[in-house]
Point group: D2
C-alpha cells in the first residue's frame, strides 16, 4: 500500500497492491468508511467541510477486483490554501513544519502539506479494501475511545459505542468527555486520548517469528499515524508491573483463560481477541498563543486559529482501524504461503 | 540485518548488509556489547553460563569493513537440551510454544527454539556494528531501567546508571528493585519493568514522512523483542492526558524549550534527544505451578524451573539499545540520499 | 515506483517515491517524453489516438519536488472497449489472456487490461522524473533501433537517429526497415526488433556487489516490458564466443581501451558508456488468422484486427529508456549512502 | 535469501528465509549439489581443491525444516591468499578489482574477495533448498551446455547430458568443445559459452503482472551471476527477427502447439516448459599477458596464472540452476497467496 497527496494539492489517494482477485468491491463501500472519518462528527469536530468523494481508478472490473493494483483517488475540494499564507515562514509548535524544513530544505506549508492529517483519508480508503479481505477470513475489527481528556471509560458496552458520538463504550464517561471538549474549545485549547482497537475472529498462526512479529507490525502501523505517541498490546504498560504468575495467561482445554497477551504470543496470533491501544497526543493547532520562531530563527508568537478539531478523537478511530485491517490482511495473505497453515 | 539460529542449535548469528566501507571493526568491540547481555549480571540473573564468543566471518578485511555483508557467528556451547525433554509435548503459558505449533505444525521445543531470548544475542552483536556507524555521525545511545517490579526511578542521575547493577538512574530505587527481585525469586515468580532508551546528538531530518516515520520504525524494532508489550515516544501515554498548550513544545531561538515530543515531530527527528520507553512483561518461565494443556489438548499442570532469570531487566537493556542503534543507523544512511540533507 | 491502471479503465498512472526534494519539475517536461511514445510516430504506428495528457497530483509545490511521493495521472480517453467484446471469451495467441485467466480466475479482457502496452505510458511518465534526477549527476540516456524485421543497423550515426522516424542510427538501414514494415502490414502481420540503450556520463561505483548488481537490475527492468524476450549487456551473447584475451577490456592510464563489458564490471559501473540491448518480439495482435481456444477449451480461429501497430519499434524506445533511467536513478541515490563514494 | 562471505575469508554461507516448515532436509542433499560445482569436473577445470563441506546451522530440527531461517555455512579451507599478494595493487582486466576500488575505496584483493566466483557456492547450497520446495510442486529444473567456445549443440538428447562431462546434450559437439578448451588452455587463454536451463512441470499462473514478471526475475537472477552478460527467454533474440504469425504460439485444446514463449506469457507461466538461456563471458583470469594499470594509474603488464579454470562451463550450470530454482520457489510460494490460484 502506497499513499500520496498533500492536504492542499489537487487530490490525494492510495494504491493497494496485492489484493486477491474476485472480491466484490464498490466505491460506495469505501465511501462508507470515509464518511466515518469526516468532520462534523463528534463534539470536537472541525467545521471544515471535507467532502471526501472516493473514486476507484483501477484494479476493479465489472464490480470485482482483478488482482492488479487498486487505485483510489480523493479529490481535494474545500482547500482554501490562502488561509495558510501567514504560516509560510513560521513553524507551528507540535507540527512537522520545523522538521520538514530541516529535512527537505523546502516544504508545502499549506495545511501541513504531506504531514497533514488529511493524508489519513487515503489510509481509511485503503483500509476499507483490507477490511473486505479479512472479513472473508471471518475477522472483524472495531475501535472505540478508551480515554479522552483524562477521562477513562470505566465499563465496556459494545452497544454504547454506537449510541454516543464519541464511540465510547461507556456512555456516562462519554458525557464527561464531551464536557471536557467543550471546555477545551472555549479556552482555544485541545485534548488527546487513548483509542483501543480490537480484532475478533483472528485465526492462530499469523505473524512472523523475529522482526516481523505481528505486534511489531501493528506498533509500526499505528505509530505511523501522526498523532500517536504510544502503542501497547494486551496488558501493555500494565504488564510491566505484573508478576509472571499474574501476567501469564493459563491455558485450558477450551482455550486461554485470560487475555493479558492481547491475542499475541511470541509475535504470533493465538486465536484470542487482538487488543491494541494507541495514545494520541492533543491536536497541536490551538488558538492559544504559543512561542515559536520563523524560518530565519526570529522569535514569534502564534495563534493557530481556524477550522481545527479540538480533539483528534473520535475521527482518528477509523484511521487506527484501517491500519490494523491492513496489517491483518497482510499477515493473513502471507500465512497462506505456509502449506501447513491452519489460518 | 538478518538474524538466524535457535536456542539449542549449533550456533546463532546475524548478517549485517549495507554497512559503509572503511569503518574500523574488531570482534573485541562486538564482544564488549555481548558481555553486557550475558547472564550473571544483575540480581535477577540466570545461572546458565552462556559464553557468547562472537566471530566475524565476512565483510571485514585487514580490520576495516569492506562494504559487503558482515556475518557474525556465536556458537552455542552450554546447551543442555535434554533439560527440555519433558516440555516436548506441553505448552508453557506465556511462551510461543502454542503459537509456533499452530503456525508451523511442528517446533523445536528446546529452550524456545527460534523464539528463545537467546536470539537477541545476535541482535546485540549486529547492534554493535550499527553503534559504530552512528557514532561516526556523533550519535550516542544509552539505556536504563525506568521501572522494575512496580518500583519507578524517581530521579535521573547518569552517574547512578553505572553505579548499580540494575542500570537504574536512581540508586535508591535500585535497592528497592533488588528487594523485589529477591522476593519474587523466593516465590518462584518473576517480574517485569520499563526500559528507557535515549539517543543524544541525533541530527534533525531523519525519518520518512508517512509509513516509515522514525518513531514507527522504533516502535516496530522494540516491539519485535519478545518481552516488549508497549512502546512510547517522549511523553507517550502521558501525552493522551495533556492539553495542546501543555503538550506542544514551544520553540525558541535556541531550540525547543521542552521535549514532550521525545525528539521526533511528524515522524522526523527535530535535533532534540530521542526518548523511547519499552514496557517489558515478566519472564514467563516461573517455578510456580501453572495450568496449561499438552499438544493433545489434555489439561496439565507445569512448573518451569531451571536456570531462568527472575527479571528480563537489566539484560534486555543492551538488546533495546541495539534495536535503537539499528533504526538510527538505517535512517542516517537513508538520509544521505537526500542531496539537501543537513544530517 | 508503482504503476497502476488498465488499458480501458478510467485512468492509469504512477507514483514515484524517493525523489529528492528541490528539483524543478513541470508537467510539460513529462508530457514531452510521453509524446515520444504516442502512436502516429513511425511507419508501423497504430491509428488509435491516445491523447496522453499527464497531470501531477502530488509531490510538487511551486514547481519544485518536495521529497514526498509524486503522483502522475493519465486519463484514458479514446477507449472503445466495445471493440473488445468479441474477445471476452477467447484467448489471443501471444497475449496474456490465457495466463491471466489461469492466474486470477477472471480478467479485464478490454485491450489486454493490465497487461496492455498502455501500462507503459505510466512508466514513461515516471521515467521522465528519473531522467531529471540522473541529469543532475551528468548522466544522459538515449536509445535507438539496432535491428528491425531482420534488418540490422550497419553504422552508428547519432545524427541519423534524429533524422529518420525509426530512430535508427543508420538511415539507409532505416529505409529497408520501413519497407519491411509496409510489407508486414499488407500481409496483416507484424515485426520485432532489437533496441539499444546507452547511458553516457555514468560515474564509476554504481551497483551492489551480489544480487543487486546494476546489470541484474537493468535486465529485470527491461525484461519486465511485455514485448522483451532477451537482454544483453555490452558484448552480450557475442561474448560467449570470445576468448578471454578478446573479451577482457585492457586498461590504460586514460581508461578502458575497449568496452566489451558495456560499462559494467562485476555488477558495478566502471565509468565507461553503459550499453544494453533488448530483443523485442513482434506484436502479437495480427490480422492473419490464428488457431486458438476459448475459455471453455473449444478450438477457435481468430483474427485480431483493429488499431494495432505493426511493430513495437520505435514506440518502445522511450519505454526502454525510462526503465534504464529509473534503474540508474535508483543506484545513484543508493550510492550516495556510501560515505566513500565517488559518484 | 542472503549470501555472505569472501573467497579467502574464514567461511562463506547463505541464509534462506521463508522456507515452509516440515520439509525433510539433510546436509547430504545440499552437499550433492555442491559437489556438482566443485573443480576437477570437466576438461576446463581448475586444479584448486575446494573441499566445500556444507553445514546446516539453523532452521532444521530433527531432520525437518522448522519454518525459521536456514543458515548454511561452507568453511574456506584451501585458501592460499599469499598467492594474491602481487595483485594487491593492480587491477586485473575483466575483473571487479577496478570497480570495487572505485566504489568502496578499499577492497579485499585476495581471489576477488566478495566478487569471487566462490560466492556462488553459497548460491548452490541455497538453491538445493529451493529445489526441494519446487520438487514438492512437481517442478524439475535441469541445465546443459548449449554452446561453448563458438561450438553449438546441434541436437538435444537428455541422455547425452549425463554421458559427457560438459553436460552437453549433443555428445559429438561436446567432443569439439573439449578440443577447443584444450587449445585455449595451451594458449593460456579461456573460453565462454551459453547455458540453457529448463523447468518442467511448472503450473500456470506464476509471476506478477507488471514489474515482478517471472521472466524479469529470472533475468535478474541469472544476470546477477558474475560471468553472465545476456539472458533470453524462449526464442529470445531470435524472436526479434520473427513475424507475429511465426512467433505467436497457437493454442489448441491440448495446449500450446509451439513454445517460442519459453513457457511465459505476459510475465506469467503458461504451463509449458520454461526455457532460459544465459550467455557467459570467458573467464577473465588468463595466463596471456594483458595491459592494465595499478592503483596509482601506472601502466602495468599482467599475467594471471595460477589455478584457474579455462572455461566457466560446466561448473556454472548448477549455479544457474540454483538461481532458477530460487526464483521459481519464490513465485510458487507467492502464488499460494492467491485464493483463486490453480498453482
Amino acid at each position: 500500500m502506497t499513499t500520496w497527496g498533500e492536504s492542499h494539492g489537487p487530490a490525494l489517494g492510495a494504491v493497494v497492491d496485492g489484493c486477491p482477485p474476485g472480491l466484490d468491491l464498490a466505491a460506495a463501500e469505501i465511501q462508507q468508511e470515509l464518511n466515518r472519518r469526516r468532520p462534523g462528527i463528534g463534539p470536537g469536530a472541525s467545521p471544515r467541510k471535507e467532502e471526501d468523494r472516493v473514486e476507484i481508478l483501477s484494479g476493479v472490473f465489472e464490480g470485482k477486483t482483478t488482482g492488479t493494483p487498486i487505485t483510489l483517488l480523493i479529490p481535494n475540494r474545500d482547500a482554501e490554501s490562502s488561509d495558510y499564507d501567514r504560516l509560510r515562514d513560521v513553524f507551528r509548535p507540535g507540527h512537522g513544519d520545523f522538521t520538514y524544513q530541516r529535512k527537505y530544505g523546502l516544504r508545502d506549508h499549506r495545511g501541513g502539506g504531506r504531514a497533514s492529517g488529511r493524508e489519513t483519508a487515503a489510509r481509511v480508503a485503503a483500509g476499507a479494501v483490507a477490511r473486505k479481505v479479512i472479513a472473508q477470513a471471518g475477522v472483524e475489527v472495531f475501535g472505540f475511545t478508551a480515554e479522552l481528556g483524562g477521562v477513562a471509560a470505566e465499563r465496556f458496552s459494545r452497544e454504547d459505542i454506537r449510541k454516543n458520538n464519541l464511540l465510547c463504550p461507556d456512555s456516562r464517561a462519554a458525557e464527561k468527555m464531551s464536557e471536557k471538549i467543550k471546555a477545551a474549545r472555549a479556552e482555544g485549547d485541545s485534548l488527546g486520548g487513548v483509542v483501543e482497537i480490537r480484532a475478533a475472529g483472528c485465526p492462530p498462526g499469523l505473524g512472523e517469528p523475529v522482526f516481523d512479529k505481528i505486534d511489531a507490525d501493528l506498533a509500526k502501523a499505528l505509530m505511523s499515524i501522526g498523532a500517536v505517541k504510544g502503542v501497547e498490546i494486551g496488558a501493555g504498560f500494565r504488564a510491566a508491573g505484573m508478576k509472571g504468575s499474574e501476567g501469564n495467561d493459563p491455558i485450558g482445554p477450551g482455550g486461554f483463560m485470560t487475555n493479558h497477551a492481547g491475542g499475541i504470543l511470541a509475535g504470533i496470533t493465538n486465536g484470542e481477541e487482538i487488543v491494541v491501544r494507541a495514545a494520541c497526543k492533543p491536536i497541536p493547532s490551538i488558538g492559544k498563543e504559543q512561542e515559536t520562531i520563523d524560518i530565519h530563527g526570529n522569535p514569534r508568537r502564534i495563534s493557530v486559529g481556524g477550522r481545527h478539531d479540538a480533539c483528534v478523537i473520535p475521527r482518528i478511530i477509523p484511521v487506527c482501524e484501517a491500519m490494523v485491517c491492513m496489517v491483518l490482511a497482510d499477515h493473513l495473505l502471507r500465512q497462506m504461503n505456509n502449506p501447513r497453515h491452519e489460518a
